[in-house]
Symmetry: C3
Subunit: 521 residues, 3 copies
């Protein structure tokens, strides 16, 4: 019983109570309970959910209690768009100037999102008298949050699926990783991966294409029902191709069904996709001073307030603070505008590419072609394919935007020196990648491995995989460690130590192979 | 002084107070203090500790203050078994129908556990007028928690020590890892590891055999005392062999001396043994959506309530939610029964084995023998040794039990598709292991390495160790990433990238070796 | 508005309030607000910041709001040294017997630290009427905390920069890692790393030398200003060489500008430098029982109290509890004295060295020379260079100091057996390193690699890098896992598995190389 009382009180009064087991505290709680009851009846009405949503909840509260509870804890369940749109500019969470009338006065519940834009949704189906769709998309969210959607479309993330599947180089990288290899006693063969494998690996983060493959009928607790068969589902990848033709998934960061700004602002969300050796942002953050402060004292920070006040709400940046959030000073001066085009504050592209290079102009990098005819933003020598990349002015502009955030806590010299180190590391990591590329090219040229000159796969042999690790893991990790000042990660964990060792191992391999070859010839 | 007052108030009233340093808050605290004092005297008595336990505490409160404080914070110190047994079925934490009379009315203190079943305990010794034993065992805990003990005996974990030491294949794996290697200028030799090494490595998690090796007399603060000499101690491994003949250690998860359900429900506990590349459950959880939710908002969840209410107490699963806990809906409908036979909701065995296969029928897998005479649940080709493994009906039953948990938040199609991906990954990872096995077999057959055909060690050479990594690390990690939807871990962190690269490196090695051999011949 | 009220109340009253969004709680908050206002006016004055500091704040509150907020949350902003020095001995945070009069009565603000010891600071410059310096040093902090500074000078960490740069062996290790390699089609070459690379990698933790390189004039919001140009800045490395001639940075652990004991006591701080495979203390802690307890229930511990009471303030150790903090029992008996000479409780040196050995006598290990003339504390055979190392009596003394901490929760036998395992692991890991060294020596002797006998670099070739991993990563990680009982890390994560595999790979390499060589000859 104690526990239930605790919850009620906590919920009503907003006071955090540790629900201990001691019965002695019961009487104290009783007093608070009476007080809170009086408060709750004496205060004005909150907005209500729509009748349609109430219809959904009547079953789903017991069918899927977890997500219903999540929604009940969300802003969507507590405020109407009409109220939300009236807030002062800095405090607004909705970016629409006006809200469609039929959505304005109730809270934002099941029906409001899952029946929006019915006609656009291939996945719309009849469900207990409603025309609902499973996959809520950025297009749907844009009804109230249009600016975020527009910005996100310029974010390279929104093209994450397309970039991977439309670029033949990346496509061949996927095959070399996810494909099934066999061995016939002498050599290996490689088969294309099946789509279920791709769904749960690369496309988990990059996004699947969700398509309706027909309908199926299923016996449910409420009798027989019909549902669309969705391929590529479930998925919340950042570049998901949706059944309404839109790209992306807001739920990738604003996890359903709390859609919480708190979660999006915490680094755990980013770590879902940015932790592995190919994008070790979270691991670098963990050993940075910023990460140390967040993990040590961040539990007392305010993660829900809009705008986000540096110094008052938080005292060290999370991922969102540097890359996304609207940041203001305690005097409400704007430090950084909210952006969902994350590269708005990024001038170098440091991950997933052979050489770091200025950010691409278009988020669709699959359109880039280098002089050698490969769909890559640099030549194999590292030279950037400038026509597709932002120029120095734009790089400077983005750098200055980021610098403003840093200056909230650091001196100009501090920041300038930090950035100088980063620029230097862009240069040295590219040099170390070039060295590895020279070794691989020699192997290709002398026939020790089969690659570009032979028109063969670039990624399927052991020496090629070592080359991939040089840039995809080690150079990249070193750059992240530099950018975010997480030194510990960039030396021995996955950085310079391995860059240096890998080159020596590639040379050793080449020497073994060539001597072997010499002798056979 | 402030701090002490704070603690008293917090303790009495159950209100969480942040004990700040500002003196301005002192007067406020004083008011609360008076209020709480009044509350504490006006409320009924709590159960008391036994006289025997008071005897223990009289010294140990100052000798080992840490564990005494832990116990004081525990349920054991706050409730008598007599009260505990009276609760409604769903809310009960003890599973015994009745409690021995002499234990019923006091709290569960030092003496209650450490003097139980004296006659069964080889480690019982005279200590200040009591017959106490150091090692409290599942048999002791079963006095109040018999169902948990019975279930746990069917859990493969309870045989973790036996499986490792009685299975010659695993025994030889341990030797190859923990043994001391020497080099004579030409080749290496391998010596058996000493037992202290095994205690702190494999057996730390798998459990040691704790045996009494004699008695020793030691000078203490209270004069000369005699204690049993325990080998294999300390240890809280899941398959510990205890001095009373029982197996396992409840303290492995219910950490002494809080024995807290909170700790057992948090993933940190599981991570003690399930984080390394051989069982990366925790690392996969960290990058899963479930983990993201837990780390972001789990600090507000209720981890002590029984039963555990999905949606109200927690909104995303921890390890315990899927694998152990009694889960109910907010309407108290049972979603999943509590089980300490963790494989009750597991249909595939995916870890620590060459090929994933249906779960074994008996928790003692050391009894299994394949056609080749090896104590393994599959042939070297991957074919399962079906007579020892659960059949499809039982697999389906376990899958359905797990599915019920998932359906608390997810649609049927969501869950079915997730499971389909997992089944597919079982298949593909087994195929990739088979390819590695073919390469190794070729090496053995052609004498490039010494293994099964030569009756030699399977694990001591470099190429064999690469083969072990293929299944023990990479295939296994890929399966975990699939099962728990932690994609980031299963691609580049320790999954498909390495499966694919490892095969190429094995083939390279084989070619170097064979050419080398050819030339010598 | 709700949020602002919440904060005011939380701040004044010290009661932790979860600032929910529900408007129903507003009235309740209003009542609390009135109460808190009354409390705040009726209570006595707090100490004030100095006029000089107020001058700093008048600009910096808006220029760098993040660090100003940090400082406002700190003890330094809430108490005057005069009050701090009056506390009872056990509760004191300042170790000075007396405080200079001009500093005693105000809080410790910007001006107090950044204008101290002006004459000693090369980096002192005129700034808005003050003579300030950027880099606050241990010498500055010693004004109030002299004992900590004196102890820290005996800490090997204070020499972390010097050890790395003055020891030619370590210097060459850095070059081999951070240097730029090139490939000419046949072999690689190695260039010295630039200093920006060293600043952000090794020296980030070890500390840079911060030097004034001149002055620069910059346009600021307040007009043109002049600042010193600092090389090696920013840096908070533990062995930083400061512009006042002192060594170290208190902010390495007591992160500016909260300088919080809470942060220094939490393991996240140590993890900034002690997480990589070369010093995996944090990773081992994470999978230890101690770590499990901290992560599961540590959020309720008291991290700010001085002294730190075992059992009451915390129930499992963090890094600081074992290695630094003043620990007392609930009866105020001293368990361990505070020490900033961290090796005060350490008898073996287990990290960053080829072989584990008794701790060095002097924190400046660059003075050590072995029989072979190398600046190493052991011979290449593992034999310790005893004259520079502490003797058995001192080892025993340190071990006993540590043991006292362990005994707060564990029995004597528990601790003795734990230590016996550790001693055994020192021995076995040294043996495995010796085996790897024998293989490398054979490679050197037979000309398969170029090293000591050839007067060549010890670290630049692939086989040498494998040897380095044997001791710097694998043996070392195994020792950490043993010392702190984090078994999971010491087997498969980065421990015995790799020690054993690495030796086999080294032998394979040697055989390939020698046969290759034979055939050429």
């Amino acid at each position: 019983m104690t526990h239930n009382w605790c919850k009620i009180i906590r919920c009503r009064l907003g006071i955090k109570i540790t629900c201990g087991v001691s019965k002695r505290s019961m009487l104290g709680l009783l007093i608070l309970l009476v007080l809170s009851f009086w408060l709750s009846v004496s205060y004005a009405q909150e907005p209500k959910s729509s009748d349609e949503t109430d219809g959904c909840l009547s079953c789903h509260a017991s069918v899927t209690p977890g997500i219903v509870a999540d929604w009940q804890n969300s802003f969507h369940a507590k405020q109407s768009p009409a109220e939300a749109v009236k807030k002062e500019k800095l405090m607004r969470r909705v970016s629409a100037d006006s809200i469609p009338e039929y959505l304005a006065m109730t809270t934002v519940g099941c029906a409001e999102c899952h029946t929006l834009n019915q006609e656009k949704h291939n996945d719309t189906f009849a469900h207990n008298g409603f025309q609902v769709h499973t996959v809520v998309t950025p297009e749907d969210c844009a009804t109230c949050h249009p600016i975020e959607k527009t910005q996100y479309e310029k974010n390279i993330m929104s093209y994450a699926h397309i970039i991977l599947t439309n670029n033949p180089v990346y496509h061949s990288l996927i095959t070399s990783i996810n494909g099934i290899q066999d061995f016939d006693g002498t050599k290996t063969s490689l088969e294309d991966p099946d789509e279920l494998t791709n769904f749960e690996s690369c496309l988990y983060c990059h996004g699947t294409e969700v398509m309706v493959q027909g309908m199926l009928t299923r016996e449910t607790a409420l009798g027989e029902m019909e549902f669309p068969i969705l391929s590529g589902w479930p998925n919340q990848g950042v570049g998901r191709l949706n059944p309404d033709g839109s790209m992306g998934s807001c739920a990738a960061c604003h996890t359903r069904h709390q859609f919480s700004i708190q979660m999006a602002r915490k680094p755990y969300t980013c770590s879902e996709c940015h932790k592995g050796p190919d994008v070790p942002a979270y691991k670098v953050y963990q050993v940075s001073k910023h990460g140390n402060i967040f993990f040590s004292v961040g539990k007392n920070w305010e993660f829900e307030s809009v705008p986000w006040v540096v110094g008052r709400d938080f005292t060290a940046p999370t991922c969102a603070a540097c890359h996304v959030s609207l940041i203001v000073t305690p005097e409400d001066d704007i430090t950084a505008q909210r952006t969902h085009q994350m590269n708005d504050r990024l001038w170098w592209r440091i991950l997933g590419v052979i050489y770091a290079h200025p950010h691409p102009k278009s988020p669709n990098t699959a359109i880039i072609q280098n002089k050698a005819g490969l769909p890559l933003p640099t030549e194999l020598s590292g030279e950037p394919v400038s026509e597709y990349l932002i120029d120095e002015d734009e790089m400077l502009r983005r750098k200055e935007t980021m610098k403003t955030v840093c200056l909230s806590c650091h001196s100009t010299q501090w920041v300038d020196n930090q950035f100088a180190r980063f620029e230097n590391t862009i240069k040295t990591t590219n040099e170390m990648t070039l060295t590895a590329t020279k070794i691989l090219s020699t192997a290709w040229d002398k026939g020790a491995a089969q690659g570009l000159p032979q028109g063969a796969d670039l990624f399927d042999e052991a020496i090629e995989k070592k080359w991939v690790e040089q840039w995809l893991f080690f150079a990249n990790s070193t750059r992240y460690a530099s950018a975010m000042a997480g030194a510990d990660y960039g030396v021995f964990a996955n950085g310079r130590w391995y860059m240096s060792k890998n080159i020596q191992e590639m040379v050793d391999w080449l020497q073994f192979k060539l001597k072997d070859k010499d002798k056979r010839e």
